[in-house]
Symmetry: C2
Subunit: 203 residues, 2 copies
Amino acid sequence: MRIGVLGTGVVGTTIAGKLRELGHDVLIGSRSAGDDAVPFADAAAHGELVFNCTNGNASLEALRSAGEDNLAGKVLVDVSNALDFSQGPPPIVGVSIEDSLGERIQRAFPEARVVKALNTVSANVMVDPGVIPGEHDVFVSGNDDEAKARVVELLESFGWPADRILDLGDITAARGQELYVAFWVRLMDVAGGATFNIHLVAG
Amino acid sequence: MRIGVLGTGVVGTTIAGKLRELGHDVLIGSRSAGDDAVPFADAAAHGELVFNCTNGNASLEALRSAGEDNLAGKVLVDVSNALDFSQGPPPIVGVSIEDSLGERIQRAFPEARVVKALNTVSANVMVDPGVIPGEHDVFVSGNDDEAKARVVELLESFGWPADRILDLGDITAARGQELYVAFWVRLMDVAGGATFNIHLVAG
């Protein structure tokens, strides 16, 4: 598949690397291009499916650079988190208790088919869940069921078992996925590093 | 132990019931008293340790009624969540991305030894973790290590295994514990009810 990956940070390069390993035709987009990256708009135009791996604080701006027309009708996998380190670690997480980046992106780009996914684990876990032993879970949300189904397929190709990919409903669930990261930054201390995840167990 | 439980909702009555079953001398406090309940101030004065199980939206007011002097020097276990159902379920959760009830309570009652705990599971799970099979976790945070140790002992008496009671650090971690509930309200749909929890797994 032709895929555009926006963002050249650890998340963007890790996801792009995995997608290429799986045989996809990937262009990485950045604000300034250069090296392995093309401008945001070129990467978005290239992709049948687009990953937003930009810094959450700049995601809306990055997506505007990518261009509304280049996102229209496409599955847009939003992996972003808004992290504010201005008061030092751990960061303040999220955009508001009443909103999320996932929802803001869907509102700003109504013709994109936004799926929030993968933002609840570190980059190495996203593309290789087997680095953590035992069962643990990844989450998707979005308004378009067919778009979610395509993201689920991609996650399965990354190694996520079908029964550990949990569909939380429409894009308003992105609020929970993003605010959970405020918990994640504290769980990290207990886990002894970023290579951890959670597993849902029901009674 | 003499324990005051503030709040006559499901959480307060469930915790008070369990504490009595374990042989503790419990008074339940409410705004209006009556039935099994005494005024907040009487329950707080009675307790060597106090549970805040009031509605998070009214917790600070309830604790002011309980009286600063009746809380000074005592372990105050804060189980509360701020849930706003005004826009219908699922509720908006939390007080802010930059603050928490746990922190607000500690700031308002600097001589109380606030420990945030148990707010991440439903009442039946709080007092009987065995209703969920397998390993799953509960979390404590607070500025006073001795206070946390006493709460950990109580949680163990509720049936929580020592290695599944995770200390997230100082009271600022309450932000993560409370914002996680925005995720919990969506996980509930996947879990098929409120009797579920999460288990931390590290790589």
